[in-house]
Symmetry: C2
Subunit: 221 residues, 2 copies
DNA sequence: TCGCGACTCTGACGGACCGTCAGAAATGCG
DNA sequence: CGCATTTCTGACGGTCCGTCAGAGTCGCGA
């Protein structure tokens, strides 16, 4: 069975195509970390290569040895986040139909919100550039989203088969809508807290919406 | 009754604070239109002041007479879009509880999707910068979102009062979640069409989710 | 019609960042 | 230790930024 590795820290390439060694891998990693850090602090629109270089304590020319531009580095960070998705998509399994299904939804919403708090800066650019039709970000976002879509669609089909969900609802569209909720609510959370909606109420409500919409099981009052 | 106008084409100011005349208003408008156009075509991350100036056929210095930078111009475009929200938020009224409520939801989803197709480039930056905590964009987004929130919360409260929706769901959080769906689905639409989900199925499903979640009325099979 | 004052636009400039390349520095292997 | 390989960087031409003084345009009164 062939093991396919699209991106592996062990054989990453420089922009000129050569395979890089141990020291270079460390440098590249520091550049990526600095990019993520600055992205969180100062946003994407005025993040300059020279800022990253200064943060790492290196020359701008070094940056260009590993990435074509800042966006290229962000793409790389986004690709790394794709690897994290199973932690969350894996939570949306067949046991959602069990009695404690709603609890599973609550756990998902809570943990995924934490993930967004940590990596939102990168995810936002992934979504922006994908929405702007940038092909590489589209591919990465598809890999990201599809992992959620597959399991959500499964739940919807099960709900429809059991007669709990109407046939008139398209499983893919339903899953897409719920993925939207999962991905955007963390952004709104802070605004809501200012308006007096507690984090707990937020998680509880979103969990009920996801659970109810994906499974068709009616939640108790 | 005092008429308050926060932003009116009749008394817009230049960056130096002076009120501008007829010719200047035209120039400013052409700059805004060019910004919106280029934003659609080439995205936000590499939209330069000089690009806008060239598109308008003017000097970069002229741009700086009216806007501090490209982001400032986009903020202005976003503020203009806030004026358009009533067309859509107004559709989410008390008649959603009537027999043809689902039809109203369908109409909303269809028309708002068109709005996103046209102005998505600006709305995306509004969301990005607001998520990145930029205060001016936060204010504009709040004005934008609140119009939807108010009416959606009304529907949820009515649904709860009528016993159709569980009390355990927070009206604000529910409205926020549905606003997420409304705002993000247009972005995903194209991806879904590639995967075989028709626009009609998309609109129908999203309408059912919004309608069902906001009113608690069960949709027929 | 002309001239004047107010409004609007722009050429030109110092500065910042981009992206590249030749060669300097570090590494590690025999 | 000497040398080949890998990695890093100083320096440079080019683009864009953001500003200002002054040139261009317009409307209005005489």
């Amino acid at each position: 069975m062939a093991v396919e590795r699209v991106e592996n820290d062990a054989d990453v390439m420089a922009t000129d195509g050569r395979v890089i060694g141990r020291r270079a891998i460390q440098t590249r990693r520091r550049i990526l970390d600095a990019t993520a850090s600055l992205l969180r602090e100062q946003g994407a629109l005025d993040l300059k290569v020279i800022d990253v270089a200064r943060e790492v304590g290196t020359s701008p020319a070094t940056f260009y040895q590993y990435f074509a531009d800042v966006e290229d580095a962000i793409l790389c960070l986004a690709a790394e986040l794709v690897e994290r998705v199973p932690e969350f998509a894996g939570q949306i399994d067949g046991r959602w139909a069990d009695d404690d299904g709603l609890d599973r939804a609550r756990a998902l919403v809570g943990s995924y919100t934490g993930f967004w708090d940590e990596h939102g800066a990168v995810l936002r650019i992934m979504h922006l550039r994908a929405d702007e039709r940038e092909p590489r970000f589209r591919r990465v976002r598809n890999e990201y989203n599809n992992q959620f879509m597959v399991v959500m669609v499964e739940r919807v089909r099960e709900g429809q088969a059991a007669g709990r969900l109407p046939q008139g609802m398209d499983p893919d569209a339903t899953a897409g809508a719920m993925l939207s909720v999962l991905d955007r609510v963390p952004s709104y959370r802070e605004s809501f807290e200012k308006r007096g909606t507690s984090r707990e109420a937020m998680v509880e409500t979103i969990a009920r919406i996801l659970f109810g919409t994906l499974t068709g099981v009616r939640t108790p009052t």
